[in-house]
Amino acid sequence: MALAVAPEAGVESDLAAALARDVDGAFEPYVIAYRTCIVTFVARLLGDTARAEDIAQEVFVRAYHALQAYPSERRAALHLRSWTYAIAHNLTRNAVRDAPPPADSLEYDDGDERAAATVDHAPGPELLALRGETWHAVQAAVARLSPRLRPAYVMRYLEDLSYDEIAHALRQPVGTVKASAHRAALAVRSYLEEANV
């Protein structure tokens, strides 16, 4: 179950085919299909809903110009969802690149996570979040994740992308993505436990 609304795989391939035929004509259906999940994704990465729409809009501007530049065959072969998330991730990363890391980051300076040793079989934060029980606490924890781990966590647990899609979006090996998502999940869980959620 995803927390953001993204089109089904069939819709994705239909959109790619339509964009391959006519970028201008198919662009609005593409925007409608992905705008909510991209705004939500950016807002979750940034922790700043006010800026999320501006960045999401820039995502689609970049996407449009790229689609215009791509040959038809390349547009038809696009994995639109992960491709759009990749643009969103890049632009969001750029937006926060110069910002200092939060003082209360969940990660240690050496890159290890405080929660790395915490292993239990309690429901993960994603499941708790789905229940609506700890949503704000999860958001607070996600905001404390480092920019290195946050995208993988948000894409996997809040946006419900597959590891393959995340790997494609982040241009990282699947193994790296899995490790990042796992470490982030442990860090979030540790935060929730410390917060007695």
């Binding site: 927390l3 609304v5 004509g25 609005e28 809009q57 501007v61 949503w135 704000h136």
Partner: protein
Amino acid sequence: MFDAQPQQAPRPPGADFTTALFARIGLDRYTVGSCVLGAVYLGWSARGVSAVRLTAAHGAADEFADWYHERTGRRIVPAVELDTIARAAQAKLADSSAADVPVDLDLATPLERDVFARVREIRAGYARPCELIARELGAGCTPQSVADVLTNNAVPLLIPCHRVVREDRCCGGYVFGDDAQQQLLAAEGLDPSAVDRAIERGYRYIENDGWFCLPTCGSIAVHLDAPGYAGLRSLDEVRARGLRACGSCRPLAA
């Protein structure tokens, strides 16, 4: 610790997210609306409505898109969703008494903006001659230049150029044709044939209970075709009778 009403639902963007986005990439959109004359292509940008054209005149949508590109230099695509502007425009096309909608005058010349502003002041059920509009706009503006601007009006109905009439007859030179103008004026309560008959008799004004009006004044439309109304051929006749100018049709230039 737990929020009683956790906000975990996806956050849809604001209502005009797509409109602003399309403005940034330079794409306008269109839909099909309907008016008294039938189906129309309704094109718009983030600034306002940019085109109203009869579908019957353009045929296929591609032809309309080509016309639009040639005229504006911008591309236009069919809309999937209607935004605030498009919904308001559809309401206005269906009912001329609905609220005015923003019009995209980005490519308009200063003269066009001035003429359109005057035309938008003309209420439904009334019409004004080109000559009065030209006179109100001042030196350098002639009835012919007003007529030329209106012939080139890309957003008829929303800029109601059908309410601008000629000196010698009611309907003529309308962007959608004389029959369409006649139909629109009649739908708003005027009787173009009666106006034409008054003009043919040489009447420039009509007496109305101590006032004088244009033959195209909405307040005299009901009895213009009935026998016994008093026509006036000149301002001298008006003065001789001591009549005051109607505040609704403003038979004298402002």
